[in-house]
Symmetry: C2
Subunit: 288 residues, 2 copies
């Protein structure tokens, strides 16, 4: 790191679930938890940039990662401070020297796979060719360790549903687990956190990214952007996700539950240990 200090961040907090009244199939009025969802309007140097809808667990890291993944900021040292105030639903970002051409760089809209942050997509696809992912391998035993760690993780999902979870692993060690109502928020939050760590520790080479959501092109691109060459999901992959994963040599593993998985790309990064897979019994019908 250079002589610049890390950005100053508030630690705004707010309840992650709320109780609402509901009626169940027995006609009983019950109380159920639903995830919180709040608007966070991001101002960069007093200029309104975007409004993010978020669970609100880590708003400062979310904003930092959003700026990074949108490529509006190239270095964490460009940020002087991020101040979040839930009273007014605002995140004030102060940069050291401003962001050049912010108007132009946020203007192109692409509505992507059910999951916005559209402006990022067109630009990033142009840059995919320049991404070189580090050598890295994962063993099947480590993959099972990751799936098991996620299974055991306490979460807002378990108590309230309706959120996506993402996690960053070093081999099978979970470094960070993030949930949000939008899965892009979750991965952006992880990107923000990684940016604050020492870059020697936090290089992507030995990292694995886990998401409960589908492996869409955006998820694959964002993982590649963070230098993380292996992505695991309990869900499947889309065609664009598959194409991007192949283009950048990222190992995309989907349908990872219990002992099962499908490796869609770069299988050479996965050290197979089929003897750990257990007996060969599969349900009759299943999506690929």
């Amino acid at each position: 790191m250079s002589s610049f200090p890390l950005p100053q961040l508030t630690r705004a907090s707010a309840p992650l679930t709320r109780e609402v009244s509901a009626v169940n199939e027995f006609g009983e009025t019950t109380t159920v938890s639903i995830p919180a969802e709040r608007a966070l309007t991001v101002y960069v140097d007093k200029r309104e940039l975007v409004t993010l809808m978020t669970l609100g667990a880590n708003p400062e890291l979310l904003v930092l990662g959003f700026l990074r993944n949108q490529r509006l900021v190239r270095s964490v040292q460009e940020i002087e401070s991020i101040t979040v105030d839930w009273e007014v639903g605002a995140a004030a970002v102060k940069t050291r020297e401003g962001i050049a051409n912010v108007e132009e760089r946020t203007s192109k809209r692409v509505v992507t796979t059910g999951c916005g942050q559209g402006s990022v997509f067109g630009d990033l696809m142009d840059e995919v060719d320049s991404i070189v992912l580090p050598e890295a391998r994962l063993t099947q035993a480590q993959l099972y360790g990751i799936v098991n760690a996620i299974r055991l993780q306490e979460s807002t999902y378990k108590s309230a549903g309706s959120v996506h979870g993402c996690a960053l692993f070093r081999s099978e060690e979970m470094l960070l687990f993030v949930e949000d109502v939008g899965r892009h928020n979750a991965i952006d939050t992880i990107a923000g956190w990684m940016w604050l760590q020492d870059s020697e520790v936090m290089g992507g080479a030995d990292k694995v990214f886990y998401t409960t959501g589908r492996l869409t092109s955006e998820m694959v691109i964002k993982s590649a952007q963070m230098g993380v060459p292996i992505v695991v999901s309990r869900s499947g992959i889309t065609q664009m996700g598959h194409q991007v994963a192949q283009a950048v040599g990222l190992c995309a593993i989907g349908r990872a539950t219990n002992k099962r998985f499908v490796c869609y790309s770069s299988p050479q990064r996965l050290h197979l240990q089929p003897e750990l897979a257990g007996p060969k019994v599969r349900p009759a019908t299943e999506p690929g």
Copy 2:
């Protein structure tokens, strides 16, 4: 309907799945299906508006419903034709008299619950107060009929995973089932289809909207926009979805699988028949 004819639509088609090679947990190389995902750039009167990432099953209806749900077009009769050409990934929309202020009306971006189409959100929230949903009720038996019809539906999801499904029901009769890689595309496609039907048949009063995705604010708003007062999902609800449903008096039913469900709002629209719910056995842990 007035004297204007309905818009002329092409019927562009393209494969909905593709086969890719993958490696499973037994170390076997297998072929699996993944959903197709293609870019469709929408031009309105030769002006580029947006690029949608879509499965591609019903691109003309998707574009029609997108224009409607973004409130860029107020009447189907404003559209003269929609011509989709998958060779170039383009949808050419020809209007009869142009769209006023299209620049201004598509400029405001809000990144919402993991699911973009951001510009719609701010504007629509302003209009929520003006929505008056028709009186309508659904019986618990009809709700079970809906859940069962979805269970039996052949789908890209069953063969390839990674898509969201939406359906429009008249009571428990399925009128239309649509899948897409983005769930907003699926609901927009249904909106486009409804717009082409005779408005006397296609009023929302006796309709029910089903989605495999979460009940986010956008899903609730879009359903309300279509005049459909009851929404059913196998997934849960977010806080904003809950707030909007309560504000417009929409009956939001989530966690609908087998005989189970949770009605989050306007339970008076649901005619409860608890005797149909079966024995009262629930798993120990479950999200609300």
